[in-house]
């Protein structure tokens, strides 16, 4: 049985979808604000991060144009996640096989400020991409989008236990990978961490 808060969230999503079907710009914005972290994190785990934001908007454009095909409005989250995964598959710039140098050349510099910082982003993203999908998506939502476990569960439709397991197991694997592949990350950033 769902909590009253979850029920309210579901009703809100249904309202947004129904309003969006009638062309409400406010509803488009609300749906985007709520689900863009989910879509973005899926795309970030599969495409070059320079393209992830642009593809996120493309994903919403596709979803809004096909809203009539969504039979169950409360399933908007899983539905748009499926669209995002399909878009990622058809993306001509997948993340796999991209060298660090290629990514540097194709990256827009608004997101990160220095080449060193960018290098760290690349290393972390490459390590993230080697994780199983469930761990990768949960960790991206947590570390990139800054969402809590409760928010991740609400967005993905997973149980709290599943999200917690994915976060912890994913983090353990990421620690192992970074300790092997990315000692620089730790070493370079140590002065800034200050425990």
């Amino acid at each position: 049985m769902q909590s009253p808060q979850a029920d309210q969230t579901q009703r809100q999503i249904i309202d947004w979808v129904q309003s969006a079907r009638r062309g409400s710009q406010r509803a488009y914005a609300d749906l985007y604000r709520r689900f863009s972290p989910l879509v973005h994190s899926i795309l970030l785990g599969r495409c070059r991060h320079a393209h992830a934001e642009e593809l996120t908007q493309e994903c919403f454009a596709v979803a809004f144009a096909r809203l009539d095909q969504l039979n169950d409005p409360e399933k908007f989250g899983p539905w748009i996640a499926t669209i995002a995964r399909r878009i990622a598959v058809s993306d001509p710039h997948p993340s796999e096989g991209v060298t660090s140098q290629e990514s540097v050349m194709s990256h827009s510099v608004d997101a990160v400020s220095t080449p060193e910082q960018y290098l760290d982003v690349e290393k972390v993203l490459q390590a993230l991409m080697t994780l199983p999908e469930a761990y990768r998506e949960a960790l991206t939502l947590r570390l990139v989008e800054g969402l809590s476990g409760r928010e991740i569960a609400a967005l993905t439709g997973l149980t709290h236990d599943s999200v917690r397991v994915n976060l912890h197991r994913g983090m353990d694997k990421l620690r192992q990978k970074l300790s092997v592949k990315g000692a620089d990350l730790q070493r370079n950033k140590e002065p800034n961490y200050g425990e």
Partner: protein, 348 residues
Amino acid sequence: MVSESLSTNTDKDPLWDPTLPSDALVQALEQTLKPLRVKPNLPKEFIRSVQPMRPRQLASKRVVRWLSLAAGLSILALFLGHQYRLSWPTSKAWTSVFSDASGQASHIALLPGEHVRTATAQFSELRVARIGSIKVAQNSELQLLETSAGQHRVKLNYGQMRAKIWAPPGYFAVTLDDVDIIDLGCEFELWKHPDGERGLQVQSGWVEARVHGQEILVPSGHRLSINAQTATTPVRMGASTKWLAQLQILDALLASKNIDSDAINLSAQKLTALSSEADRYSLLSLLTRFPALADSAIYPRLAGYLGQSDQGNHRSAWRAGDQRAINAWWAKLPNQPKQWWRHWADAW
């Protein structure tokens, strides 16, 4: 162990709650990846560019869905109806309606082995299971031999009958003495007159006549005479008397035990000279039954009618009785014998 690192208390778990203080690596990762965070606001120009579905579009999609559903149900109903139409319990009686000149009608059931016999000014109409009907003319006798799903057989002892059948090839057949007439989905008339004249005439579709080991296909608009020894060539209704006379001569020469090649070639030449494109089926049937006629004038004339030429030694292959060569020209006919369903009008 991975499981050991799982926190069971979410209240004190910094991975679960980002507001709680976390270890150095998690903090470093958050700091490194934070710049990639998606911007929560959708650009206004993007929102303005989204075209919502108009009510008319939504309505038309609903209409398309309903039409698709209706079409699907209609196809299912047609399929089930067709299956029911072709089914029939073994040896179940057919119904027959007798009528006479006074207009009086009587219904009878006809079981396998039983006859329908009509006198002068008396007629009968039988339902052939669920696949069609037979009209029996006056002074005729028809016997029901067997009936079951896919196997309906009658025998015309004498007189005349007209069958209208819509079913796959071979579902219905008529025996006429030593000749079998196989329905290929069509409407046809069959007769055996007291003077011994026998024949059939096809109104629509195709019929196959099996006469003394020969299989002769008769298409719509053609008739076939059957004499005591053999079948002749199917001829179109409306063929000229001269052409028919010349065909009879050629048929007789071909049926003769003493083959006279010169006489056959001369006769074939005369027939060709009298032929028009409307006679192409008769010529094709002749060539099929007697492949040696490929040497005669019939071959090039028929090739012209069918838009073919002697490519790849087709003529010599035909002469040798090569079935592929023969089938290649049959395939050029606009109405193929196997396309029985195209004569759907015969269903009623």
